[in-house]
Symmetry: C2
Subunit: 255 residues, 2 copies
């Protein structure tokens, strides 16, 4: 088992930010700067396609969870993203996506197959990252763990959560059911799922089919008017409240 190696550390406005690696995979861990976070819940994030671990969507969600709930939050760069090298396969798939986009062809088939490829690499990386994070004394193995990833984060997160009994609650959204519905049927923890009613890439039927596939007894779907990239910012606040409801239960000490 790889352990977590901290490569940089800083603290701003009550949030401790630690860059780390687990093996070759770079990540970042955000925690409350106070010691009160010992044993607090952990939420794993996964970023969207073309983004990276410190994209404002990631640091913004982390800030909400750390300062609002006293939780730990961690995210790693997906294969071919952020500080990680792109393979020839990555370059070819990205070129194909840009070609389809420029030609006005559907992006779905390319995104579905490329994200599935990346998920096969990323799932064991998320498992190893969680192993390493739980070795830290301030996280440990007792506190509940959540997962939050939209778009490519959902393509990675659904197979990860389906195979990972340590995840107690998850927020997903905005992906196609083709590869993922089968895996969603194995997920039973509470979920919140986001979709856009006027998504130009993912049809309503596809979005609803993926939500429907989850075996979770407690599941919520949040649909908003607007196109693919117009997911309202208040859905991040909603996700934070979702994690507060589901992860705080078993917390013994929070900030």
């Amino acid at each position: 088992m790889h352990s977590l190696r901290v490569t940089a550390e800083s603290s701003t406005n009550g949030v401790l930010e630690r860059d780390f690696t687990v093996g070759d995979v770079p990540g970042v861990l955000w925690s409350p700067a106070s010691d009160a976070a010992d044993g607090a819940p952990l939420v794993l994030l996964a970023h969207g396609g073309g983004n990276h671990k410190k994209h404002p969507a990631m640091s913004g969600r982390a800030r909400l969870l750390v300062t609002g709930c006293g939780f730990h939050v961690a995210v790693i760069d997906a294969p071919g993203h952020g500080d990680r090298p792109r393979t020839a396969h990555d370059e070819a798939e990205i070129a194909e996506l840009f070609r389809a986009r420029a030609a006005g062809e559907p992006e779905g088939p390319i995104v579905v197959r490329y994200n599935d490829h990346l998920a096969k690499l990323a799932v064991p990386e998320y498992q190893a990252t969680l192993d390493a994070l739980q070795q830290l004394p301030e996280i440990g193995t007792e506190g509940p763990v959540g997962f939050w990833g939209i778009n490519m984060g959902t393509a990675i997160g659904i197979p990860f959560v389906a195979s990972e009994p340590r995840i107690a609650a998850a927020v997903f959204g905005q992906h196609w059911p083709d590869v993922l519905a089968e895996k969603a049927r194995r997920i039973t923890v509470p979920i919140e799922f986001d979709m856009q009613w006027d998504d130009e890439h993912i049809s309503r039927e596809e979005g609803l089919a993926l939500f429907d596939a989850f075996a979770s007894k407690e599941k919520s779907l949040h649909v908003n008017s607007g196109r693919h990239k117009e997911l309202p910012r208040f859905e991040a606040d909603s996700a934070v409240r979702f994690f507060a409801r589901h992860l705080r239960r078993s917390v013994t000490s929070t900030a």
Copy 2:
């Protein structure tokens, strides 16, 4: 124009409760006990079928809005409900509903036609109530007004909001599209809409069709797993945040 006549007044835990009548229609107005509520937003509630103006679902929502947001909240008894007499037609429709329920027949057709009948009576009552409430100096005509009604409250609320330009934002849910979709197409204010994914009375297709009908540029659908009566309590908190987002903008003074 009828004016509002206060018939009883009490104050508990910072909430001023005033029973009133407007003409023959009895209602209740909840307000912050402090004077700071002058000009604060007003949210009109409508109760569900078989319930009444002081059902715990109404007083509970009022408490969230009054103590959480500093808003005024008002609700009236629907025709044939609460302190109002039932007509022979009410008795016949209720008997028919109970007969269908006991026989395991669909309730939808009866609820749709009976609620449509009640809505035709209730819409002018809501308009007169709003007129009378806006005559109160602590409410006035400047503050924004919201509407919140689920089930029968949606059957009354959709035609009311479609014909009432004073409503700036509305929360609806859990009804059939048959009569209402046509009127929803005339509604353009922001809405939040609740439906249950496993509703034994309203099919998924019917619930989604009604949500889809709203012409609102900003609309959100909240779907939760569970049967008709299992709408999660956290949706009330979500509705309160929705009103806080949409009604607070133009507020000049809140508690």
